[in-house]
């Protein structure tokens, strides 16, 4: 195992985070705060409690998940797309580095960064609502698994994309709608019955539900189903990455 290489890639990626501090950390914090002000305080004050939880507090896990998903995908996809775009990837391809080490470096950095953002959002939200986390360990597990899974998804997107448009299109057209419709802002029991069924095809529902349970012990879907689905998505992404490197897809001629 070439640990130096993993460290080098990881550090390189994290340095990029510190360099673009405003973009990578300040902006998600700002946008989440705006959500709290608009939905939590302004609109939320007129909303009734959901499952006995104040709407603003109900929002916290959903918003966290929303940022976590978009952050993980965008960090990881840019992280690997950029060297491909610049051509600097040649150095990694010609180095004595295995697939696993490359993925560890890039995905590890992207996941760390979104965890960092998640932690900051959590702290920020404490200023707006009465925060209560009933199962911190479970919550942390969800956080870590989700960041890893979606960082891997981002990595795959960054390898698949051969222009900037494609790089943006998946997060914009798929991830964002799925998160908005995945129960981040509402309980799916508030939907008409037909849409409650449809919504079960949305993977984000399970992530948000399970995650919310770790906060308030309320969830739309059975906790174990949520955990099972989360692990399942992780495995799917691992398989995707394995396939990419097995075939050299879009990395080598």
């Amino acid at each position: 195992m070439n640990l130096y290489a993993v460290k080098a890639i990881y550090k390189h990626e994290m340095d990029r985070t510190w360099r673009t501090l405003a973009q990578s950390i300040v902006s998600p914090v700002l946008s989440t705060s705006l959500y709290f002000i608009v939905f939590g305080s302004a609109i939320g004050s007129r909303m009734s409690d959901i499952d006995g939880i104040a709407y603003a507090a109900f929002l916290v896990p959903g918003l966290l998940m929303l940022s976590l998903l978009t952050q993980s995908v965008s960090n990881a996809s840019f992280g690997i797309y950029f060297p491909r775009f610049l051509g600097t990837i040649f150095e990694i391809l010609s180095a004595p580095v295995s697939t696993m080490e490359i993925v560890l470096g890039y995905v590890g950095a992207a996941a760390s960064k979104s965890l960092l953002v998640g932690a900051i959002i959590l702290v920020t939200s404490a200023f707006f609502v009465d925060l209560q986390i009933m199962h911190p360990v479970l919550m942390l597990t969800f956080l870590v698994l989700t960041s890893l899974t979606f960082s891997m998804l981002g990595f795959i997107i960054g390898i698949w994309a051969d222009n900037f448009e494609k790089l943006q299109i998946v997060p914009l057209l798929i991830i964002t709608p799925l998160t908005f419709l995945g129960g981040s802002f509402y309980s799916i029991s508030m939907l008409p019955e037909f849409w409650q069924k449809v919504t079960l095809f949305n993977p984000v529902v399970y992530l948000v539900s399970g995650f919310r349970w770790s906060f308030y012990e309320v969830s739309d879907v059975n906790l174990w189903v949520c955990i099972g689905m989360t692990v399942f998505f992780l495995l799917v992404c691992i398989a995707g990455i394995y396939w990419i490197f097995k075939t050299g897809y879009r990395l080598k001629n």
Binding site: Y4, A8, I9, K11, G87, E91, A95, P96, K252, N253
Partner: protein
């Protein structure tokens, strides 16, 4: 001499069906400097990329230091440093930052002393804390060389290392490369500056249309294919070449003030002494004579033309 890189029946067909390399066989000796020459699109970069693991060969095997580049990729790649043809480089990182990154990728920890040595040898030490985007083009190219040397490779690939580097620095870089050779590093370079190959290389390989059309010791290549010219600067102008000298392949230049005689160095008898005797007999007097051997550039142009 033992081969440090051994290429057997290497072919590469790119997606889309273009065959960039056709059944290449080549051994590169430990410690030599070999220059690969060839027109644009000949396949030089493809060959280097295949050895370094950036391009997957369609057929054939390559070993580096005895290690198969696919099965033992770690061991094989650890030996190699690569300076790419294009300026593929970061923008916001510092010079020492990217040097450390390269070392890390190749499985080595920090070594400020080595980094300092490399940067000094490339005249980059003053710029060590600069961000790469604040460097000039030639400096960036030298950073690329520095990155390739960061992990102390045994083999160095230089894909047109001196393109865009000024004359003085080019000479300095040649010296750096010679020092590397002294230290035992094997160097494979491609270049379009024939004088560079002539100056540096022990052996010359010529690639054209994906095939190696020639690999030779530089000396013997120049001897074998070299034409020598004898130039006589005449004391007085002559209007035509006298009948008695018609048997020699002579040319009258410079308004009748110069006689040019071309001969093949391979021949036993160059005919020079006899020619000079005949010239004297013909009553032609010369004030000076010089001989000149054709340069590698002329040899190369002739070779590729013949293809």
């Amino acid at each position: 001499m033992s081969a440090i890189i051994s290429i057997k029946n290497l072919s590469k067909t790119y997606e889309g069906g273009f065959q960039a390399l056709k059944d290449i066989n080549l051994d590169i000796n430990k410690g030599e400097i070999i220059a690969l020459l060839g027109p644009n699109g000949a396949g030089k970069t493809t060959l280097i990329s295949a050895i370094c693991g950036i391009v997957t060969p369609t057929a054939g095997t390559i070993t580096v230091g005895g290690y198969d580049i696919q099965k033992d990729y770690r061991a094989a790649r650890s030996l190699i440093g690569l300076v790419p043809q294009e300026m593929l480089i970061e923008t916001f990182e510092s010079v020492t930052g990217v040097m450390e990154f390269s070392r890390g990728l190749f499985g080595k920890g920090k070594d400020p002393a080595h980094v300092e040595k490399v940067l000094k040898s490339l005249s980059l030490w003053d710029k060590r804390n600069n961000k790469l985007m604040t460097l000039s083009g030639g400096m960036k190219r030298r950073v690329l060389i520095g990155k390739a040397l960061a992990h102390e490779p045994d083999i160095l690939f230089l894909d047109e290392p001196t393109a865009g580097v000024d004359v003085e620095l080019r000479k300095e870089m040649w010296n750096t490369i010679r020092d590397l050779k002294q230290a035992g590093v094997t160097v494979i370079l491609t270049t379009h500056y024939i004088e560079e190959a002539e100056e540096m290389a022990d052996r010359i390989g010529v690639i054209d249309h994906g095939e190696i059309i020639l690999v030779e010791e530089k000396k013997s290549l120049m001897q074998k294919l070299g034409e020598k010219n004898l130039k006589l600067h005449l004391k007085e102008k002559i209007n035509s070449i006298p009948e008695s000298l018609a048997n020699y392949n002579l040319q009258l230049n410079a308004d009748g003030m110069e006689l040019l005689y071309s001969y093949d160095v391979q021949q036993e008898d160059t005919g020079i002494t006899a020619l000079l005797d005949h010239i004297e007999e013909a009553g032609i007097q010369y004030r000076d004579l010089e001989t000149k051997q054709s340069s590698l550039e002329e040899i190369f142009v002739n070779l590729v033309k013949k293809q």
